[in-house]
C-alpha cells in the first residue's frame, strides 16, 4: 500500500473512533450505569462467537453491494441515490423466479434469479441514466422518483402476482431457491445453532474484485472515471460521455439489483412486505460507500463494520437503549468523513515530523506553514 493509502486507512480509523466515542458519550448521558456494558456489547458482540461473526457477514452482504453500487456511480461522477428502488426491483424479480420457476433445477433457478435481478436493477438504473444523457435531467431527482415508482410498482406486483394472504407479504420461496451455504454453516456456528451466512458473501467479494478490476485496470473503467473527473476533458479526448453515463448507471443499478437478490435469497425466510417505505439498504449503501472512501476494497471493510455495529446495536434493548444509537454513531462517522482531508493533512504532518526528529527547524516550518502532504 502506498503512503496515501495508509493515510486514508488511518484517517478512516480515526474517524470511526471519534464517532464511537461520541456515541458512548450519548449513552453515558442517557443512562450512565448501563452505558459501559452496552457500549462493550456494541464493540464485542459481532465477534463474540463464530455464529455472530457469520451473521455480520450475512447482513454485510447486501449493504456491501449497495455501497459498491453507490460508489461505482460516484467514481464516474454520478450520485446514485436510487439504489433503494433498484434493490427492491431486483429483490422482487429474484423472489418471483424463486417462487414461480420451479420447473428449473435449483442451481439454474438460483443463477437465473441473480442474473434477472441484476438485469432488473440495471433497467431501473438505466432510466435515470438515459434521462441524464439525453434529456439533461439531474440523476439525483430522477433517482428519487424511480425509488418511489419502484416501491409502489413492486407493491402492486406483489399484491397481484406474489401475495401470501395469510402473512400479508410476498409468497415465501421454497428453500431450494435460496443461495447454497457451501459449508459455511460448519465454520460459522456456536454450540447451539449455525449462522445463515451463505455463498452470497463469496459472490459479493468476487463482484467487488471484478468491479475493482473494471474501474482500475481497464480502458472502459478509465473512460468512465474520466467522465466523472472532468466531463469536458473526457469529451475532448473522444470519449462518448452519453454512452458512459448510461453504462455507469446500468452497472450501478445491476449491483443494487444483485444486492436485492442476495438479500432475499439468504435462507432466513425473508419476504417483501407491502409498506410505503423505501428499502433502507439503498441508503445504508450511501453510508457504506462514503465510509469506504468510495474504493471497492474499502467498501468490503466499511460494509462489514456497519453490519457489525448494527448487530451489536440490536442487543441494546437489553440495556434499555434503542438500536437507533447505532444509526446515530454511523451518521456521526459519516459526518466526520467530511473532516478526512483535515485529518489526513494532520496525520501527514505528524508522520513527516516523526521521521525528521533531528531537524527541529524544519519541524517548526511545517507546523507553521501548514503545507501538508
Amino acid at each position: 500500500m502506498n503512503r496515501s493509502g495508509v493515510l486514508n486507512f488511518l484517517s478512516s480509523i480515526l474517524v470511526v473512533i471519534v464517532g464511537l466515542l461520541i456515541g458512548f458519550i450519548i449513552l453515558l448521558i442517557s443512562d450512565s450505569g448501563q452505558a459501559l456494558p452496552a457500549f462493550a456489547t456494541i464493540l464485542t458482540f459481532g465477534a463474540s462467537s463464530m455464529r455472530n461473526a457469520g451473521d455480520v457477514l450475512l447482513f454485510a452482504t447486501p449493504i456491501i453491494l449497495t455501497g459498491l453500487s453507490v460508489a461505482f456511480a460516484f467514481r464516474t461522477g454520478l450520485f446514485n441515490i436510487g439504489a433503494s428502488g433498484q434493490f427492491t426491483f431486483g429483490g422482487f424479480v429474484a423472489i418471483f423466479i424463486g417462487v414461480e420457476f420451479l420447473f428449473l433445477p435449483p442451481p439454474i433457478r438460483i443463477l437465473a434469479s441473480i442474473i434477472a435481478a441484476a438485469l432488473a436493477g440495471a433497467l431501473w438504473g438505466a432510466i435515470p441514466g438515459l434521462l441524464k444523457a439525453y434529456r439533461n435531467v439531474h440523476e439525483v431527482i430522477s433517482c428519487i422518483m424511480t425509488n418511489y415508482i419502484g416501491m409502489f410498482f413492486v407493491n402492486f406486483l406483489i399484491i397481484n402476482h406474489l401475495f401470501d394472504q395469510g402473512r400479508g407479504t410476498s409468497t415465501r420461496m421454497p428453500s431450494d431457491s435460496n443461495l447454497p451455504t457451501m459449508g459455511l454453516e460448519h465454520i460459522f456456528r456456536d454450540n447451539i445453532r449455525a449462522s445463515h451466512v451463505n455463498s452470497g458473501i463469496i459472490i459479493t467479494i468476487l463482484i467487488v474484485i471484478l468491479v475493482y478490476i473494471i474501474l482500475e485496470k481497464t480502458t472502459f473503467g478509465y473512460e468512465l472515471k474520466a467522465c466523472g473527473f472532468n466531463k469536458e476533458a473526457a469529451k475532448y479526448a473522444g470519449i462518448n460521455e452519453n454512452r458512459n453515463i448510461i453504462f455507469s448507471m446500468m452497472i450501478s443499478g445491476a449491483l443494487a439489483g444483485t444486492a436485492g437478490a442476495l438479500n432475499f435469497m439468504n435462507g432466513t425466510g425473508l419476504s417483501m412486505s407491502i409498506v410505503d417505505a423505501l428499502a433502507m439498504e439503498g441508503f445504508t449503501g450511501i453510508s457504506v460507500a462514503f465510509l469506504g472512501l468510495n474504493h471497492p476494497i474499502g467498501i468490503i471493510f466499511s460494509g462489514i463494520l456497519v453490519s457489525y455495529l448494527y448487530l451489536g446495536g440490536a442487543r441494546m434493548q437489553l440495556f434499555g437503549f434503542s438500536i437507533e444509537i447505532v444509526e446515530i454513531v454511523i451518521s456521526i462517522i459519516i459526518y466526520f468523513c467530511a473532516f478526512v482531508f483535515l485529518v489526513k493533512s494532520f496525520l501527514g504532518n505528524a508522520i513527516k515530523n516523526f521521521g525528521k526528529k533531528d531537524e527541529k527547524s524544519k519541524k517548526q516550518d511545517v507546523s507553521k506553514g501548514g503545507t501538508a502532504v
Partner: protein, 319 residues
C-alpha cells in the same frame, strides 16, 4: 363529483402543498447560493421533532394559535442549528456537499426516535390538534372562495404564501438576493467585487435550515396527531419540487400545487365516483406524481435553470 368533494380535495391539497413549498423555498436559498441541499429531509424531521415536543409540553398552558406560532419558532431555530453543521462541513471544510447531507438525513430520524424513546418511552409523540380553523370569520362565508381557501384551514397555510412572497422579494429585489444568486452562478466573480462568498453561502444554508424546520412541523400538524420520527420522504419530494420548479419561486408554487394535488387525489380517490369506476389500483395514483415529474423533467430539463456553480466548493485560489 359534487362541490363538497372538490372543496375537500382542494383543502387537503393545501396540507401537502404548503410544507412542500416552504421546504422547497428553503432548498432554493441554499442551492441559489451554490450549496446542494440533500439534507432537507433531516432538517424537516428535526424541526418537526422539537416543535412537537414544545407543543406537547406547553399546550396545556397556552391556547391554540400562539402555541403553534411558538412551536414554529422552535422548529425554525432547530432547523438553523442543524443547517449549521451542513454549512460548516460543506463551506468551511469544503467537503463534498452530499456527505454531510447524507449524515444529517441519517442522524435526524435516529436521534428523534432515540430521544423520544428516552423521554416518552415510545417513539410516537402524541399531541392535541387545537389548531384547525373551521372557518375564518367573514372570509369563510364568501361563496366558492370561502370553502376553497378559508374553511378547514390552518394559520400555517397563509404563512406559506407570506413566506413565498418574502422569498421572491428577497431573492430578486434586494442586494442580498443578488449576491446570493451571484455566489451560486459565479462565486469567483462575486468574490472579486468584494462579496464574501463564505458569509453569503452560510446565510443561504441557514435560511434553508430555518424554512425546512418550519416546513417539517407544518407538515405534521394537519395530517396526524402523532409524530413518529419521520416526514415520509417529503424532504426529498421538496427537492423534487424545487428542481421541477426550475429554481424559481413562482414555478415552485406551481410544482408544489401539482404534487399536493396528486397526493390529495391518491389519498381520497376512492370517494370520487368517477375515479373509483376507472378501477385503477391505488398504487398507480400514488405513483402518478413521481411519474409525471419524470415526464415533465424529460421535456423541460434541456435548458436547465440550475445555478451554475451548484455543488462546487469555493476555493479562493481557483479564481
Amino acid at each position: 363529483m359534487n362541490m363538497d368533494m372538490f372543496y375537500f380535495i382542494m383543502q387537503s391539497t393545501m396540507f401537502f402543498m404548503i410544507p412542500l413549498m416552504i421546504v422547497a423555498l428553503g432548498g432554493l436559498f441554499s442551492e441559489k447560493s451554490g450549496i446542494v441541499n440533500i439534507a432537507l429531509e433531516g432538517k424537516m424531521i428535526m424541526g418537526a421533532f422539537t416543535g412537537i415536543i414544545f407543543i406537547t409540553t406547553f399546550q396545556d398552558l397556552l391556547p391554540g394559535q400562539p402555541i403553534l406560532l411558538l412551536g414554529i419558532l422552535v422548529a425554525m431555530v432547530t432547523g438553523i442549528v442543524v443547517a449549521f453543521f451542513h454549512a460548516y462541513a460543506s463551506i468551511s471544510l469544503q467537503a463534498n456537499q452530499i456527505i454531510s447531507g447524507v449524515a444529517i438525513n441519517m442522524f435526524a430520524p435516529a436521534f428523534a426516535i432515540y430521544l423520544s424513546r428516552f423521554i416518552f418511552d415510545t417513539q410516537h409523540i402524541q399531541f392535541a390538534n387545537q389548531f384547525r380553523i373551521e372557518s375564518v370569520p367573514l372570509l369563510g362565508s364568501i361563496p366558492f372562495i370561502g370553502p376553497l381557501f378559508f374553511q378547514n384551514t390552518y394559520i400555517t397555510n397563509y404563512m406559506g404564501f407570506v413566506i413565498l412572497g418574502i422569498a421572491a422579494f428577497v431573492l430578486y429585489k434586494t442586494k442580498f438576493g443578488l449576491r446570493l444568486r451571484a455566489c451560486g452562478e459565479h462565486p469567483q466573480a462575486a468574490d472579486s467585487v468584494g462579496v464574501s462568498v463564505v458569509k453569503i453561502r452560510y446565510s443561504g444554508v441557514l435560511i434553508s435550515g430555518a424554512l425546512a424546520g418550519i416546513g417539517g412541523l407544518i407538515w405534521v400538524i394537519p395530517i396526524t396527531t402523532r409524530f413518529s420520527g419521520t416526514v415520509s420522504g417529503y424532504g426529498f419530494l421538496a427537492l423534487a419540487v424545487l428542481i421541477f420548479g426550475g429554481w424559481r419561486p413562482g414555478k415552485v408554487l406551481f410544482a408544489a400545487f401539482f404534487f399536493g394535488l396528486m397526493q390529495a387525489i391518491a389519498a381520497s380517490y376512492s370517494a370520487i365516483d368517477f375515479l373509483r369506476n376507472l378501477e385503477i389500483p391505488v398504487h398507480f395514483y400514488r405513483m402518478s406524481p413521481y411519474v409525471a415529474t419524470l415526464i415533465v423533467l424529460a421535456f423541460t430539463s434541456k435548458n436547465t435553470m440550475a445555478p451554475k456553480a451548484l455543488g462546487q466548493t469555493y476555493d479562493k485560489g481557483g479564481r
